[in-house]
Symmetry: C2
């Protein structure tokens, strides 16, 4: 191990005062003292999630067999309600855990366009939104005679309220934006943006992938229309665990999603001839629910609930602040630039740093037992998971980055990004 | 335990000669000697599937973390190829394990309709097809200016080749049928039906949910265009494990599915502005793959491969034959009617029996430690899984059904079907 290069012992003090410090023990231990700063892409496994999957695989499935469905069939709505009250600030009956984020986005955006009056054919997003959001909307617009309008966005600053106001009008059916920008971590003003969009007569769909579980979300307070998000980042439910969707209750009857699967049917086991979508949030379900993934999400969200999203957000803010301070002091002199907003109110749980050799540095960091996330162009994302990362993790990571760049050790790595990054 | 009421020892002989008998030990043991005849709805857990999920949850996820994606990202195609060569008779690069059956059906049917010439707007299915198939097609037709045509089908005999020939014509874009009918177990003539549909200029989409893993399927030999199916019935991959889709290679470039998720994008991590679907089967992917479910499917299919689909089909035929013989002898005199085709070439892996008190009987059977499947109207499905069911299971199940009905013990149960059946 290297010596600490930082001159203060701020991290030690912060860790000693951390009310969430004990939660690190609720996760499967890291091997070889690796520091994991990529929980914004794939969270680490909580012991409770492992136990929940074990229980499903070794007890419920083999013992209950087909009878397990008496409980499992309610999981999409039950885990949705748990998620709603634990981290989304939504009411019961508005959230469903199902499918992937992309499929859910498709269902809700297509439903919104189909329900819009004939003169509202425009779907709005920003040109830096996560690719799947842009592509999905592009596909819907093309298939349904709509049009996609892209808000041009500074990739380090995120979407502004003014830019949204300029982009919406009487032709707009739906606006879809990310709550936290995947690259920069910029946090959008959910309340103000939602209000502007609704005043323009359109529906607002938030992609919560990069905020859920680390940023406090208040869907009811912001009167949000629609939302989607994943469960494998700060929620820690495992690779490819099912996603969620939210539809405000008063909108549910107005919207009809395009994939008329039997799990959305009224009295599904009657096997009726005609499709009659359920009255509630169930009408946004499609096929057989992924039970193994659902029990993982259930246990993962319970753990978040134990810690409390407010305490998580508080620690997250402090971690990003601490990392920003260290980066300004030690990394900027080495050619890094901050590529996240500086305003603590306008950023999520990760800090992004630009460097022209970011790809090489990220590879060298992995070999120095620090796992960051790389994103084009030339950006390293440092994701801080309040439940298992410590302030010492941040300090050590920055020390190692300094060591790598100061000694030019990253120059030994291939310059071109490859693989899953 | 009750005495055996059958007068011969055929089951004992058949079990002694069963080349697959040893595979029962590859499954998690049943509790309390329960006889499980519902593998056509939810298969029992193979030990290898439990081990694969354990490995993912306790080793790959915690140890590899984000680096696991280097392997996981290839699972949809890799497990698809494994499925293709093990049970589908398809070539590499034509199968993907992803999403639910309903979502996959939506993607392929919508793509087929979108690619059809303007004069071909009709989607054909049968009025007894599994509800999700009918509803999904109904939704696509409604959204895309198409029309759904239903072939009227005898619910115990299944769709006939002649009926399909009558239903297709120059207005037809796509025909979608189940290979094995979910209620009766009737097995469609895949080769003849596919040929008729293609001669009429339409595409053929087979739903393999109730045949995959128990009936030999030859997608290449039958020149099938499109197929979908699930993995939690005879494949035993667990409740809600991911489904699969198949698109014949020469069709892939012609078809573009409607859900433009980032996993279908060329060079997905470049985060490009424009959607450019991949060239191969990957263009039918959507969102982040459900890794936990994928490793379950992988292990489940390997087990099927060890046994060999031909040996499985042989045993399945013999089991259904044996059960039919016992039912004719012992159950028909008690008011049961056979509600499956009698021709061994025209039926799949389960036997369906009609009785006016079938719901009550199915509940009494559960309490007599035999788990069958109930389906409206008034039908008990007995599903025989060649990998873990024995001929003695069949004999005992029939004995207990006789005991229940002869003594009127089912009359103690509520007459109305409830819950997940």
């Amino acid at each position: 191990m290297m010596e600490r290069m930082s001159t203060d012992d701020a991290a030690t003090k912060l860790d000693a005062a951390d009310p969430l410090a004990a939660f690190a023990e609720r996760f499967h231990p890291m091997h070889d003292d690796v520091i994991y700063l990529d929980g914004n892409s794939l969270g680490r496994p909580p012991l409770d999630v492992q136990a929940a999957v074990d229980n499903l695989t070794h007890r419920e499935w083999p013992h209950d067999l087909i009878r397990g469905w008496d409980r499992w069939i309610n999981l999409p709505g039950d885990v949705g309600d748990l998620l709603a009250r634990t981290v989304l600030g939504a009411r019961p009956g508005e959230t469903l855990v199902a499918d992937s984020t992309s499929v859910n986005l498709y269902k809700l955006a297509a439903a919104a366009l189909a329900a819009a009056p004939a003169e509202r054919r425009v779907l709005v997003t920003d040109d830096d939104n996560f690719p799947t959001d842009r592509y999905i909307l592009q596909g819907i617009a093309e298939a349904a005679g709509g049009r996609l309008r892209l808000i041009h966005t500074d990739i380090d600053a995120g979407v502004t309220v003014d830019a949204v106001a300029d982009a919406v009008g009487p032709d707009t059916a739906l606006v879809c934006l990310s709550h936290v920008a995947y690259r920069s971590g910029a946090l959008a003003d959910m309340a103000a943006v939602t209000d502007i969009v609704q005043r323009a007569g359109a529906l607002m769909l938030w992609d919560l992938c990069h905020s859920v579980g680390v940023v406090d979300v208040d869907l009811t307070g912001c009167n949000v229309d629609l939302a989607v998000g994943c469960s494998y980042k700060y929620l820690n439910a495992g690779p490819g665990a099912p996603a969620f969707l939210y539809v405000r209750s008063d909108l549910q009857e107005r919207l009809r999603q395009p994939i008329w699967g039997w799990f959305s049917q009224t009295d599904q086991f009657a096997m009726d001839a005609e499709y009659r979508p359920q009255a509630g949030i169930g009408r946004f379900a499609v096929g057989t629910p992924p039970v193994m993934g659902l029990v993982a999400v259930e246990a993962a969200v319970r753990l978040i609930g134990e810690a409390g999203i407010d305490a998580i957000r508080d620690k997250s803010r402090l971690m990003v602040h601490h990392a920003t301070r260290l980066a300004e002091r030690h990394l900027v002199p080495l050619g890094f630039e901050l590529a996240s907003p500086l305003d603590p109110q306008r950023r999520g749980g990760h800090l992004t740093l630009r460097h022209e050799r970011a790809w090489q540095i990220s590879q060298a960091m992995r070999d120095a037992a620090v796992i960051p996330d790389y994103r084009e162009p030339q950006r390293i994302r440092l994701g801080f998971a309040p439940l298992y990362n410590s302030y010492a993790d941040i300090e050590t990571a920055v020390d190692r980055m300094v060591d790598i760049v100061a000694r030019g050790r990253h120059l030994d790595y291939p310059a071109e990004a490859t693989g899953v990054t």
